[in-house]
């Protein structure tokens, strides 16, 4: 008897748990609204009079750094505006993955924060709606707005931009009496001087292996590029690693490797530890590393990247912003919140304070008293938006491996970059 009751309970629990889990993911049916502009449409239904109007609700997805700020500000405004705002905290990268599943299932947010280089994927999947900056468009950092523009449509309201810049340790430079390198050839000369003088204890310059992001300022300085830039954005058919400039940059790196001036097997931690311990004079890194470098007490100076044959090294520009889900039932309200609440000095200042990186809101960006951040901003003035096109996924491993093979001395510069460009073209051709 007991056993039977138990089986019924188990079956019921199983059924219930299935029910609950399925309800959680059951997508809301959405009616197709097909308006034939050529016909005279029926007048839209008069909204039902509501007795006790339920507060309109906006769900925002944000990462752990920013969600407390959004929550605080949103609570303030919510009272004034008569709307309800719910902030859901997710890891920054998780937002990208989850939006793909939750959006179409009707469980997604109305607004979410993210990086501009997700756009290719988000747009291809139909997950984001057009964003309208309205009268406030001019107050935003232009390249930031450009970065959130995909195929001519704006999909995000930027709040911060970031890029890497060139860090040198002035104490070390003085100790070995070398000037801060202005060109990549200077970097070679500096490396030679410092390594010879220190007997190999201190290096001139070091770079994260297998990381195209940190390598781009070198490649671009010689005129190389990842994808060609046209008026319509990046052109995936034009792969520029094996362009003349790209090869020149690769050969420079290969020469450094042959001379023993650049070390293999360096990752993010190693690079920073070496710099903080005064074992390398110059590195390239981003604002996210500022706090650890400051804490280490090492002397540092931030500047633009050295120049090659073509130009000063141009880093990738990464822009973060707010996006509106295409599956939001309240897109107009979401848009309005962005315009009225987010695009304000108070909000943008709070965002800047919690995580200092150059703001995409001009009043805050220009008011930055932080010299380091100003230096980052100026190093990024010539930056190129990180390609947001989906084809970029073919680049990371191919270009990174080429860099590592050059540094470890396994391949020459030209061969490595030719191979990488070929790998990228193959992957793109196959992916389409």
């Amino acid at each position: 008897m007991k056993k039977k009751a138990l089986s019924i309970v188990i079956a019921a629990i199983l059924g219930l748990s299935l029910l609950l889990s399925a309800c959680a993911s059951a997508p809301e049916p959405t009616e197709v609204v097909v308006v034939e502009p050529t016909d005279v449409p029926e007048p839209t239904d008069v909204p039902e009079p509501t007795e006790v109007p339920e507060l309109p609700k906006i769900v925002i997805w944000a990462d752990e750094t920013r969600s407390p700020i959004i929550e605080e500000v949103a609570a303030l405004y919510a009272e004034v505006l008569g709307i309800e705002v719910e902030v859901v905290q997710l890891g920054f990268g998780d937002i990208r993955d989850q939006i793909k599943v939750a959006g179409p299932a009707g469980e997604g947010p109305d607004i979410f924060i993210g990086a501009h280089d997700w756009l290719g994927e988000l747009v291809a999947n139909g997950l984001v709606a057009e964003v309208n900056l309205g009268a406030k468009a001019d107050s935003f950092f232009g390249p930031g707005v450009d970065a959130f523009t995909y195929d001519g449509v704006l999909y995000g309201m930027p709040y911060a931009s970031e890029n890497i810049a060139f860090f040198c340790n002035p104490d070390l430079l003085e100790e070995y009496s070398v000037a801060r390198p202005e060109t990549w050839d200077d970097v070679t000369a500096m490396s030679e001087t410092i390594i010879t003088a220190s007997g190999g204890e201190v290096a001139g310059w070091t770079i994260q292996s297998n990381d195209p992001y940190h390598m781009l300022p070198l490649v671009s300085a010689y005129g190389g590029y990842i994808f060609g830039w046209t008026d319509a954005g990046y052109d995936a058919q034009d792969v520029g690693l094996d362009s003349e400039g790209g090869i020149a940059a690769a050969n420079w790196l290969a020469d450094m490797s042959t001379a023993g001036y650049v070390e293999a097997g360096v990752d993010y931690d190693v690079m920073h530890t070496l710099f903080e311990q005064g074992q390398v004079a110059c590195i390239g890194t981003g604002p996210w590393a500022l706090s650890r470098i400051r804490e280490s007490g090492v002397a540092y100076e931030i500047s633009a990247y050295p120049a090659g044959d073509a130009t000063n090294g141009r880093p990738f520009l990464g822009v973060q912003g707010f996006m509106v889900s295409a599956f939001s039932e309240n897109q107009l309200l979401a848009q309005t919140l962005l315009q009225e609440v987010v695009a304000t000095d108070e909000f943008m200042q709070a965002f800047f304070d919690i995580d200092p990186r150059p703001s995409a809101w001009m009043p805050v960006r220009e008011a930055t008293a932080d010299l380091d951040l100003a230096a980052f901003a100026s190093a990024g003035s010539a930056g190129m938006p990180m390609p947001a096109i989906p084809e970029m996924s073919a680049v990371w491993s191919a270009a990174g491996n080429a860099e590592e093979l050059i540094i470890s001395g396994e391949l020459g510069g030209e061969e490595a970059f030719m191979d990488a460009a070929e790998q990228i073209r193959t992957a793109i051709a196959e992916g389409n």
């Binding site: 097909v34 009079p49 309205g134 196959e430």
Partner: protein, 535 residues
């Protein structure tokens, strides 16, 4: 005897329950009724939303529960319902779904259903050329009916409702006098909404077309209203989408999952379609298959075999060493040796990755100080492989120790006594008695361990993501890549973002490879069994 019991129990069933007490039978029926009600409601929701893949297994489970409880023949095996349900949900359903996905184009750009893609496109609007925008102010009646006061770029005023669009002047008729901005302060029967006040009504105003065709406006934001027009209109009969802005017609392309124009332009987003064996063809024609595939396959087998051998050897050694009951503190030591087993694998790998770091890691730095040389675990292909085997050894030996200890205690002492009488040495005892008898019981577990390591992505990827890189390969490949990490890259680092369907197809191919290898190994275990019969 067993059969008899089953038969006699089988003849019970609901009727027997009835004879024992009607209450019990009613209880069963009641439980079933409630469960069915819930289940059918759930199925209705799922099917209404087109969630067939989830609805199907639930329907199967529900039917099974009913059949098993109501059929007198099957009544005795009703206790297997929970197990059966779990098998269906977590084994069969994911398998079927993976196989199904492998025959679709489910990937970035094709994650929506066709209906969802059409709905998404229906959201897009555009402003026809030459049309103007208006500043607006909203008025609302207590019943929730809205009117807008519009001012166009030339300063002309209009009053619009849901079905009217007319010129207006403040102070005329029901319209109150103008404020300092020229907007009427009041409208009879309506309440004027201040700029911020209107925000909470936006969900109601969203998408409403005010006025009457062709004079219509929609609210764009708090500042502007404009005669927005829906850009893409869908024709369900022809299954085409017309771009009203350019006049281009897009036809459903069921081969690729796009609406495509005659000029081969695709509308974004695409949708998911059935593509047959396309993903398998792609895999076998891929340059990834012509390239470093064989080298990676060889390393995959080497990695799996060496992982099993090293972990088993060390685990067995430790088990034998601590099998002696006279050893003091052996329980404590054995517990300590089990620690790696209790640490989440990924954390173990990351800790080891740090310790093997050629610049900062404990092991290379110590070696450097002691012997003046340290292996380059990150960038030398040979040492990277040694590194990954070391990590896997650390992670894997406690399991082998556990299963070996158990198996060792199951070997009867009298066999050893007999061997001792025959004058066998310790080594001979181990080689001729312990090992063969052990292999009989742990052999299948070793094969399972081989299969596990063959696909041990969670050790390979966090360590070096398959690096160091191989030179001159047509697709990016690394020296520590095993099949699963290599193909992961093919599926997720291709030119088009993440390709889940392709990944599913690759998974199926790898499944067959592992199945064949496993079958071959089972042939070998049979030999061990023959050995054990001879002992």
């Amino acid at each position: 005897m067993m059969v008899d019991t089953k038969k006699s129990r089988g003849s019970k069933g609901p009727l027997a329950a009835l004879s024992k007490g009607i209450g019990r039978y009613i209880l069963i029926l009641l439980g079933l009724a409630i469960l069915d009600a819930l289940g059918i409601w759930l199925l209705y929701l799922l099917i209404r939303d087109g969630a067939w893949p989830v609805a199907t297994p639930i329907a199967v489970i529900l039917i099974l529960i009913n059949v098993l409880n109501l059929s007198p023949k099957l009544f005795p095996i009703r206790w297997q319902i929970p197990a059966g349900a779990i098998v269906i949900l977590i084994i069969i359903f994911p398998m079927v779904y993976t196989i199904y996905s492998a025959f679709t184009n489910y990937s970035d750009g094709h994650i929506l259903s066709k209906q969802q893609a059409i709905n998404r496109l229906a959201q897009d609007t555009y402003l026809p050329e030459g049309s103007q925008t208006y500043n607006w102010t909203a008025f609302r009646t207590e019943e929730g009916v809205f009117s807008l006061w519009l001012v166009d770029q030339g300063g002309e005023d209009y009053l619009v409702t849901l079905d009217t669009f007319q010129d207006a002047e403040p102070g005329e008729g029901i319209i109150g006098p103008a404020d300092e901005n020229g907007v009427p302060e009041s409208l009879e029967g309506y309440q004027r909404l201040a700029r911020l006040e209107v925000i909470k009504y936006l969900p109601e105003l969203d998408g409403i077309q005010f006025g009457i065709y062709p004079d219509q406006v929609q609210i764009v934001d708090l500042d502007y209203a404009a005669p927005l027009v829906q850009r893409y209109s869908y024709d369900p009969e022809l299954d085409t989408i017309i771009d009203e802005k350019s006049g281009i017609v897009y036809y459903a392309n069921e081969d690729e999952g796009y609406y495509t124009s005659l000029e081969d332009q695709n509308l974004i987003p695409g949708y998911m379609v059935w593509v047959g064996v396309h993903n398998f063809e792609r895999l076998f024609q891929s340059p990834a298959f012509r390239g470093p595939f064989l080298r990676i396959f060889a390393w995959t087998i080497a990695f799996a075999v060496l992982s099993v051998l090293t972990t088993f050897a060390v685990g067995l050694l430790v088990a034998i060493a601590f099998n002696d009951p006279d050893l003091k503190g052996r329980k404590l030591i054995r517990s300590l040796l089990l620690i790696p087993y209790t640490i989440p694998g990924i954390i173990g790998v990351l800790i080891w990755k740090g310790m093997l770091n050629p610049h900062l890691g404990l092991i290379p730095l110590t070696l450097e100080r002691m012997i003046g040389w340290a292996p380059e675990f990150y960038n030398n292909p040979f040492w990277a492989k040694i590194g990954i085997l070391l990590i896997n050894l650390w992670l894997g030996y406690p399991y082998m120790m556990l299963i070996s200890s158990g198996a060792l205690q199951a070997i009867p002492d009298d066999i050893y006594d007999a061997a001792a009488v025959d004058g066998a040495s310790g080594w001979q005892k181990f080689w001729n008695i312990t090992l063969p008898l052990l292999l009989v019981s742990v052999g299948p577990l070793l094969i399972a361990s081989f299969v596990f390591n063959f696909n041990n992505f969670s050790v390979i990827y966090p360590f070096l993501e398959g690096k160091p890189p191989m030179a001159n390969t047509p697709t990016p490949a690394g020296h520590t890549d095993i099949l699963i990490s290599y193909t992961y890259r093919i599926a997720f680092e291709g030119g088009g973002g993440s390709d889940y369907a392709y990944a599913a197809a690759i998974t199926i191919v790898i499944f067959f490879i592992v199945a064949v290898l496993t079958l071959i190994q089972y042939q070998y275990t049979r030999q061990w069994e023959e050995v054990s019969e001879n002992v």
